[in-house]
Structure formats: C-alpha cells, structure tokens
Symmetry: C4
Subunit: 198 residues, 4 copies
C-alpha cells in the first residue's frame, strides 16, 4: 500500500524545471521574428515595409506569449499541492512541458503559413497543453484526496473552446484564426461570474 520513497520527487525541483522551460520557450519565440538575411534597406520606408510583412508572425508571437503566460499562471496558482510529487504527477507535468517546448514550432507554422493545417496544428498544440494541464489537476486531486479550488477548469474549458473556434474559423478565413485566442482574456470575467452565480 505504501509507496516506495523513490516514487516521490521534491515539488520545488518540478517547479524549477517548469519555470525554466516556460521562461526559455517565452524568450525563444522572438527568434522567429526575423528580417530576411542579406536584407539591407537604405530608406526608412523600405525598413517599415519589411517590418509590416512581419505583422502575422508578430500577432502569432503575442498570442503565443499570452497563452504561455496563462498556462504558467495556472500552474503557479495551484498552491494546495503536496510538497512531494508522485510519479504520475511528475509525468503529467513533463508531458505538459513537452507541448510547451513544441509551441514555438507550432507558432512558426501558424505565423508563416495561412493554411488550414497550420491553424489546426497550433490549435491542436494548445488543446494538448490544456488536456495535460487538466490531467495534472486530476492527478493532484487524486493524490491529495480533495478538489482544488484553483483548478483552472473554467480557464482550460475556455481555452479549448477558443482553440476549436480558431480551427473552425481557419477553414474559412485562415488569416483571422489567431484572433479567436483573445477570447481567453474573458477568462477572469467568466470565472468571477461563475463564482458569483455558484
């Protein structure tokens, strides 16, 4: 019945690798915001025109940074967690981090190519991030034996909804699909309303 001691790892270490992966993924996004090599503008107009062509990638970068910030905040919120993490807990977090490291790639694809598969890859990546975050919550609730207050259920449902909406918009108007993610900033409002009516 008793788990062997090595099944647990310090939560502080799991937080450290989580913060490291998020911090690096956030910073790495900007590497994709680049002007073509050998580009050598001689007038301000030429430079501004080249920067304007980066607009789609810039929007993808803002959306992706905000999504990472949202996911990181949800992870950092959950404070009722035990000091030691079970193997299942560690693996759901590591699986979540895998999709965090994948997000810069999905962002490049979605920012560069306004085609249905690009929008769907990005949406799919975010849905997998939400599902692994929900899995972490469920594992913590199983490990601690009680329901978390700050479970992120409202936020993750909203995120999955916005991703599905973006993927649907992507079929008809791929160049507008990224805007669906701004819906997530209704999150705090929705949660307050959920708390108020509960």
């Amino acid at each position: 019945m008793m788990k062997e001691p090595d099944e647990f790892i310090a939560k502080g270490r799991l937080d450290a690798i989580t913060d490291g992966v998020f911090a690096f993924a956030m910073t790495l996004l900007v590497v994709n915001l680049d002007l073509p090599e050998g580009f050598n503008p001689t007038t301000s107009g030429e430079l501004l025109a080249a920067l304007a062509r980066l607009a789609d990638t810039f929007i993808a970068y803002i959306v992706t940074f905000l999504m990472l910030a949202l996911f990181w905040l949800e992870r950092a919120h959950t404070k009722e967690e035990p000091e030691t993490a079970s193997g299942a807990y560690a693996w759901t977090v590591l699986l979540h981090l895998f999709f965090v490291t994948l997000l810069p790639f999905s962002m490049i694809v979605a920012g560069r190519y306004e085609l249905v598969p690009a929008i769907w890859i990005y949406g799919g990546n975010l849905i997998l991030l939400a599902l692994t975050a929900i899995a972490t919550t469920l594992v913590i609730e199983r490990d601690t034996g009680h329901r978390l207050v700050a479970s992120g259920r409202v936020e993750f449902s909203l995120l999955i909804t916005s991703a599905l909406l973006s993927m649907a918009i992507g079929v008809f108007a791929p160049d507008s699909a990224m805007y669906a993610y701004f819906l997530n900033f209704a999150g705090p409002l929705v949660r307050r309303w959920a708390i108020a009516t509960s």
Copy 2:
C-alpha cells in the same frame, strides 16, 4: 471583500520566471553577433576587418545587456513586496517580461539598420519596459498600501528621458543614437543627489 485564494501566486515563482527570462534574453543577445556564413579569412587582417564590421552590433549588444541588467536590478531591489502576488501584480510582471523577450529583436533592428524607424523601435521597446516596470511598482504600492522606498522612479524617469533623447538624436544622426543610453549610468549619482537634497 476577501479575495479568493487562487487570485494569488507565490512571489518565488514569479521571481523564478523573471530571472529565467532575463537570463535567457541576456544570453540570447550574443547569437546576433555573428560573422557571415561561409566567411573564411586566411589572414589576421581579413578577420579583424570582419570583426570591425560588427562594431555597431557590439555596441547595441553592450547597451542592451546593460539595460536588461538595470531593469533586472530594479526588479530584484524591491524587497518590501508581499510573499504572495496578486493577479494584477503577476500580469504587470508578465507584460514586462513580454517586452524583455522582444528586446533582442529590437536590438538586431537597431544594431543592423541605422535608420530612424530602427532607433524608434528600440527606444519604444525600452519606454514600454520602463512603463510596465512603473506599473508593477504602482500595483505593489496599491496592494501593500504604502509607498516603496526603492521604487525606481528616478531610474525609470532617467531611462525614459534617455530613450526620448536617443529617438531625437536618431532623426539627425542614427549612428550615434545608441550612445544616449549611457546616460543611465548617471542613475546612481542622480539618486544619491536626490536623496541628499530631499
């Protein structure tokens, strides 16, 4: 009146992601300091000539590292903060980190192209960093209910002044605009003078 518990996150986590993003942004700057691919010098003179052509990017790199160091120090100074961070506090920090991640891009643009829009993008990025840092101070002061001693007001005002000066110089002499930022190293002197005369 009472805020719900999930509105707070541990300040330690916010510090960790702040330190992570600053550390990566600082280290990432050097990636832009690169000799052309396929460049194959056979004499020391050729290599030195190629290195000399990197001088503008090198100055932009030094300035940017020092700016990041200044902003990081201001964030690390503020020690009267509560152990838990409110949602507003976390979001102003994350918004600040967004402009930290953007700075390597602005540095490339300012280092490569000596044109007005390049200087203005860099100056604008630094002003947004200062404004989000000031916003963080204001949120902490609101949350704790008292004015911070180490508020960074003098430093951030000086930084915004130097950025505006650099942007003004940029209109007439874009290749000298980066030097305006060295004005910030008068910061400690100005603060000591401000303390001495207050």
Copy 3:
C-alpha cells in the same frame, strides 16, 4: 583528513544549474524541427507533405525529450543526498550536464542522417549520460557512506541496454533504430517487478 570548507558547494546551486541546463536542452530540441527557409506552400497538401518529411526528426525529438525527462527524474528523485556537495560530486554532475548539452547535436545527427555513425553517436551520447549518472550515484554513496534506495541502477541498466540494442539495429535498419528507446518506458514495470521479487 578533514576536507577544507571550499571543497563543498551548496546542493541547491547544483540543482539550479542542473534544472537550468535540462530545461534549456529540452526547449532547444524544437529549434531543429524546422521547415526549409524560403518554403512557401500555397496549398494545404504542400504544407502537409513538407511536415511529413519532418517525421524522422519529430520521432528523434520525442525520444530525446523523453530521455532527458527520464534522466532529470532520476536526478530529482535522489533525495537522500547531503545538503552540501563534494568536489567529486559536483564534477560528476557537471560532466553529466556536458553530455546533456551535447544531446541536441546528437539528436540532429540521428534525426537527419539514417546512417550507422549517426545512430552510434546518439547511442554513445546516451550511454555516456547513463555512465555519468551512475558515477554520481556512486560518489554520493561514497560521500554518505550508505547505499541509495533510489539509485536508478535498474533504469540506467535498461537505458544502456536499449542504447546497445538501438546501435545493433542501426547496423541493419538505421531508420528503425530510434524505436529501441521506447523500451525504457518498461522501466517502472521492471523496477516494480524487481522490488516485488526482491
């Protein structure tokens, strides 16, 4: 007989650099998952075909992320360690980190070229990771004077076996060699069985 005080460093610092290197190595892997520059698909079919060509690199990326997660977990598990680290302990960890930083390179080589030396470089890198991890365990056991429960002996033996298997498969069928590493996910099962029968 007594060691001088400077021979020891705080274990917290060693954990911090370990978590940092693992976090960056994990996130850096995705940089290698890139579509060719100048690629400009006009139809969804073209984009999907280009993504399909990344399949080998994607499998190498998944395997490498999981290997890094396994090694990180083994390091984070070992909790019976003293609070201060001896010089020998620090150097075995730093040597282990050297092979962590090398892994993204080995992954590129193994993901791009389906040739025997590529498979052998990747396998060799993993074996060196396992050997330095075992060396760390041995140094800790020498320093503390007792055998660690969570020593990772079963996991590392399995990992070396899977690497040797992959290298053997690589001689005959280089394109299937990476799959041998999924054997490591039998690790928890093998360990449970080892505990049950011991």
Copy 4:
C-alpha cells in the same frame, strides 16, 4: 554611514540569474556544432568525414564548457557571503555575466578561424572573466571585512596564466593554442600543494 536599504538585493536572486546565464551559455555552445545545411551524406564515410571537420569546434566546445564549469564552481563555492548583496557586488557579478554571455561568440571565432586575433579574443574573454571574478571576491571581502578562504585566487591566477600561454602559442601555432587551457585542471593539485606548503 548607513547605506540606504535599496542598495541591497537578495543574494538568492543574484544566484538565480547567475545559474540561469551559466546554464544557458553552456547549452548554447552546442548550437555552434553544426553540419552544413543541405549536407546530405549517402555513406557512413561521408558523414564521418564531415564530423571529423568539426573536430576543432568540438575541442573549443569542450574547453569552453569546462571553463564555464570552473567559473561557475568558483562562484558557487564562495559561501561566506552575506545574504544581501551590495550594489558594487551585484554589478561585478553582472559584469562577469556579460563576459559569460560573450564566451559562446569567442568560442565560435576561436573554433572556426585558426588565426592570431581569434586566439587572442578567446584568451582576452577568459582573462576578463577571471578579472571580474577576482573583482567580485575583492568586493565581498570589502563588504564583509574579512578575507575569504575559498577566494579562487590560485585558480584565477592559473587561468590567467593559461590564457596568456594560449595567446603566446597562438602567435606560432594557432591550431594548438586551445590545449593550453587544459592546464587549469592542474588547479586542484596546485591548490592542494599551496595548502600543504602554507
């Protein structure tokens, strides 16, 4: 006489940014170990030949990783430091970190071009790392008012000696200059001898 409170920052934060910058710099080194784009070997021989051409960069990478490990260990050793860092202490550490972020660039230059200026840039970078590390020790000794046991004086003197030696060798035989740095691994021996004879 009394310093104002905001002149101090938590040493923990300074350690965190130090560990972050070192971890990222160590991991970034491998990015420079790359096979040419578009290289598509069909036989093992071709791949091995291409890998052999990376030998110089690989040696530069090993030396650089070990140098970073040495500097990091020296920073992590010094444990008699106060819990709060003075402004002077923070700035010497940040200056040290600047030269840490510059090292991957110096490594590329030294690894690619076997010319005197390349060897001198690398040597100069390491000497500046040693001098800023010594400056940190001096500032700590001034702040705490006593001499540190683990001051790194022996190690840093040896490092500067090896860098000067490498720069001298570089004038006559640039392709052997990097090997001078392995002299640093005599460090522990020299220190033990220095302690034994003192």
